[in-house]
């Protein structure tokens, strides 16, 4: 966690902040989803409570808290109550490992009559050297909460929804994992921070002795791995059970799928879990393919130099530069979240066999081919 009290305290506060950021983004996303879906469907959406209907969030929260406590007959009590909590955990843990801005360097300073040495704080919950493997591992636990809910509810619709969801998650995890392999080969690291560092500047690479350089395109992963980007993004839709892959809760045939028996705050926890998966996916898309917190056309150094003029100390300048890059990251992040919402209200749901065909017969072979081609190209380029 850190070498001394100061670093440990800051790191703990950071963990809480990242968690709160995730949880607090959910009401805003719900509002955005309801308003956005309304505009896509040529309606108005919630617009009566407060300005632009923003107070609807508070009304929703009160409604969630005051709903009747309900336990279905024939359910398994432990699993029924454990499932919503378990739904929150994987997304939270995974989201904490996503880097949101440039590391902040704090120079030595004096406080409470003691000297506190130089620190480097990462703009994320915690820094892990094998970030990708960790995130994939943790989010693969997400299916358990759905299965626990499906079994614990003692309801046929719930169980069918849970089985569909688990089959879908297992199938798409393969394509998801394989699509990332190309990225890992390209950057030669599992560390998300190093990946972002490799995407700085303008598009430039060496191939067969030629140096290719672009004058305006940023050095983003999507220009090297466009196929991986498409497959990864589609697979994350399936992982977070969003339309067009939300067969787990297909209203037309399963009432509401695995969360039929859940109401009030328990239902909200499932919601937060789903949005958390979306946020992890959006964060990973930004990190892998869109340069993370880097600003296209502007280097970190120039931002830092500008911040030095604005702030008094080097630590302050580093913090200010970090804040600016965090805002840039947030914009990219928000764009992907909006794409999630836009797709949900634009595309119809797949049929079950179409879903499996897409996962196993289309995305998996393409991801595998992408991996092999990337490996061959890298071998040629490096030799």
């Amino acid at each position: 966690m850190g070498q001394d009290t100061f670093q440990i305290t800051v790191n703990c506060i950071k963990l809480v902040l990242v968690f709160l950021m995730m949880v607090q983004a959910v009401p805003i996303l719900v509002w955005l989803e309801r308003r956005g879906s309304a505009f896509i469907q040529n309606r108005l959406g919630p617009n009566r409570v407060g300005p632009l209907g923003l107070m609807q969030l508070l009304a929703d929260a009160v409604k969630f808290l005051t709903k009747e406590e309900f336990f279905p007959a024939g359910g398994v009590k432990f699993l029924y109550y454990a499932a919503p909590v378990a739904a929150l955990v994987p997304a939270t843990l995974a989201f904490a490992a996503i880097p949101m801005s440039a590391p902040v360097h704090i120079d030595p300073f004096e406080m409470f009559g003691k000297n506190w040495g130089p620190y480097t704080f990462f703009w994320q919950g915690f820094e892990i050297n094998v970030g990708i493997v960790y995130i994939l591992g943790v989010s693969s636990l997400g299916a358990y909460s759905i299965l626990m809910a499906g079994w614990g509810s003692g309801n046929k619709y719930s169980l069918l929804g849970a089985l569909r969801a688990s089959a879908q998650i297992i199938s798409y995890e393969l394509a998801l994992g394989l699509s990332i392999v190309g990225i890992i080969l390209l950057y030669g690291t599992f560390n998300l921070g190093e990946m972002i560092a490799a995407q700085q500047g303008l598009l430039h690479f060496q191939f067969l002795g030629h140096t290719v350089e672009s004058t305006w395109l940023p050095n983003w992963g999507i220009f090297y791995q466009p196929l991986a980007a498409v497959i990864f993004f589609a697979a994350t839709f399936a992982e977070s059970n969003r339309l067009p892959f939300d067969l787990a809760e297909g209203e037309a045939e399963l009432v509401a799928g695995f969360h039929v028996e859940y109401g009030g705050f328990k239902m909200l926890l499932f919601f937060i879990g789903e949005y958390g998966h979306m946020m992890v996916a959006a964060g990973l898309m930004t990190t892998f393919f869109f340069g993370g917190w880097s600003i296209p056309g502007v280097s970190y150094e120039s931002v830092y130099q500008w911040a030095q003029g604005a702030a008094a100390t080097n630590s302050g300048a580093s913090l200010l530069a970090g804040l600016i890059h965090f805002l840039v990251w947030t914009v990219k992040f928000a764009i992907f979240l909006w794409i999630f919402i836009q797709v949900r209200w634009t595309l119809p749901r797949f049929r079950y066999d179409q879903l499996m065909d897409l996962g196993w017969k289309t995305m998996l072979p393409w991801a595998l081919g992408n991996t092999i081609i990337t490996a061959i190209v890298l071998l040629i380029a490096h030799s």
């Binding site: 398994v76 050297n129 094998v130 693969s140 299965l147 297992i170």
Partner: protein, 178 residues
């Protein structure tokens, strides 16, 4: 006790108790869930040993595999019937005895072979630069020194998968009219 030791004992207790639950509890659902918990515990133990990559892979591969098991339990087992079939009869008694013998042999073998392993500290894995990049080290070892074992394991797993499909097909699979 240092924090590392406390962490280790908590994790070890969690892992071992959930592993015992897998064996001792009769409800297959809870068995599968505690098996998943065991896997998570083992991967957390890997983290305390600084083997982050192994921990992640443990989580992805084994937690995912247990998920498949869970689904199998839910879909294919007639829970009450299976319970009786597994707790009565001479055949299962013999199987139980055989597995006890196997387990005892495994434990005895492990104790005999690991004797002294923890006492001699190998210098190779304690240097800081190796600890920081164990993933690369692991990759190099798997694809050079242990290549044969690695590939053989892959073939073995393939055979197991194909064999399982073939066996289930030969008896009518999930649509068997027993």
């Amino acid at each position: 006790m240092s924090t590392d030791a406390i962490l280790f004992w908590i994790l070890a207790f969690m892992t071992v108790s959930s592993a015992l639950t897998v064996v001792l509890i009769t409800n297959p659902i809870y068995c599968a869930l505690s098996l998943a918990l065991t896997m998570v515990g083992v991967s957390a133990l890997f983290v305390t040993l600084n083997a982050y990559f192994l921990a992640g892979v443990q989580m992805i591969v084994y937690a995912g595999a247990v998920l498949v098991l869970f689904v199998m339990v839910l879909m294919l087992f007639d829970l009450k019937h299976e319970l009786q079939a597994f707790t009565r009869g001479k055949m299962t008694g013999a199987l139980k005895l055989a597995s006890i013998g196997l387990l005892a042999g495994l434990i005895a073998g492990a104790i005999l072979m690991s004797n002294g392993i923890l006492l001699t500290k190998s210098e190779a894995f304690t240097s800081p630069d190796m600890a920081s990049d164990t993933t690369k080290q692991l990759g190099h070892l798997i694809f050079s020194q242990y290549l044969f074992g690695f590939e053989a394991l892959g073939v073995l797993l393939m055979v197991v998968a194909v064999g399982a499909v073939a066996l289930s097909r030969s008896k009518g699979g999930t649509h068997a009219k027993s």
